[in-house]
Symmetry: C2
Subunit: 239 residues, 2 copies
């Protein structure tokens, strides 16, 4: 279950205050953002936006998990982005969505009406700079994922995915030094297969193999225990 987040809270107590697009805003800038924000919730499985839709808003993801996905003409699906708390949704300056965005767990968004946000970007340097920084970070992440999709084996893809979740999930700063880690997968086997460029059967088989090899342990369908994070890193195949 996701943490309940009340729509009336103000920015200063926001869980993503220091990582989202507003991270480097000062008190004054925050006030301006606060004035145009509103919260929206989506239930697990619901679409947040469809490719081709007019985009009414951009948003920060406050809680939950969503995917950015794209279909080929004949229905093959590739997930091209995983959205976790603090990630940004939408593109200022574009009014047609290029991708489908889907809530995979219950999701809370902090939305900004798009045209007002665009104005704010233009005359709030801290926001423009932070947007650029986040876009460049996402570009790096996308390029890392291209290596995974183009060159890694199924086993390496699974290991890399588990490490990604571990990195983004374990309380940042709490460098759970040395030993192991316990994570909750935000995605079904099928959603993972769409992200990793595999089939769901291959994902399932690789989970079984990693478990048989003692690299991970499974707790129900969604829980994964990583007894030795370094050992898993060795399976992920990137230097």
């Amino acid at each position: 279950m996701e943490t309940l987040f009340l729509a009336s809270e103000n920015c200063s107590s926001c869980p993503i205050r220091h990582r989202a697009v507003c991270a480097s805003c000062d008190a004054d800038e925050l006030t301006r953002l606060e004035a145009i924000k509103y919260y929206r919730s989506f239930e697990a499985g619901q679409p947040i936006m469809w490719s081709g839709d007019r985009m009414e808003f951009v948003a920060s993801l406050v809680s939950g998990t969503a995917t950015i996905e794209r279909l080929t003409e004949d229905g093959r699906k590739q997930t091209v982005g995983l959205l976790l708390p603090s990630d940004f949704i939408g593109r200022p300056g574009r009014d047609q969505a290029l991708y489908d965005v889907t809530a995979v767990t219950d999701v809370t968004l902090c939305c900004f009406r798009r045209n007002e946000f665009e104005k704010l970007v233009e005359d709030t340097p801290h926001i423009a700079q932070r947007m650029l920084e986040m876009a460049l970070d996402e570009l790096d992440a996308a390029r890392d994922w291209m290596v995974l999709l183009g060159r890694k084996t199924a086993r390496e893809k699974i290991a890399s995915f588990l490490l990604l979740i571990e990195r983004r999930t374990v309380a940042p700063g709490v460098a759970a030094m040395g030993a192991g880690s316990r994570i909750a997968l935000p995605l079904t086997r099928e959603a993972m297969s769409d992200y990793l460029g595999l089939t769901l059967e291959t994902v399932s088989r690789q989970f079984s193999k990693l478990k048989a090899d003692g690299v991970i342990r499974l707790e129900g369908k969604r829980g994964v225990i990583i007894p030795d994070v370094a050992a898993l890193k060795a399976e992920a195949g990137d230097g």
Copy 2:
């Protein structure tokens, strides 16, 4: 042969003036950029930067072609970006390169010392905005490529690549309406395989098959004639 480009030319006659990072600069801003720019050339095959290197400059690619690539620990290579004239190289705000950048033809760069460029980004909104726009465009391109790498067949990958080159190469604006197109591949079979997540043998075979099927004709090693661009699009597998 690449067009000869003289280092002494000023920005107003620059071939990428209206597409590069400087595209939306006014005369005044251009003067400031002009003051910190310098040209560098790299011969085909030469490294432009190595992953891990300190980045002394950022740059616009003026002429030629370069690749951004990444290696796995055991030497598998994935090209994560193709740099054509007007594309931007480097990341303001980061001082270690994350990727190898290699000139694949003779290349001319319009370089800016990094720290001076960073200052300029901070107080020249037109440059900051253009940087954001270009970063977001690259992110979209990277996501399209993720679909290609994760879900497309070898034949679809080749067709998509040919269309990419066609789009970026044929004089923009000259919407060579209707019929065919003739392109010069900037990459060897091996470099294409690194970009497409294939082996060079598979690339070669798919070229042969597309030729046998009449979708393309080959002129020497690097020339490709596309008699019917729409027919090639139908082979590329995206809606």
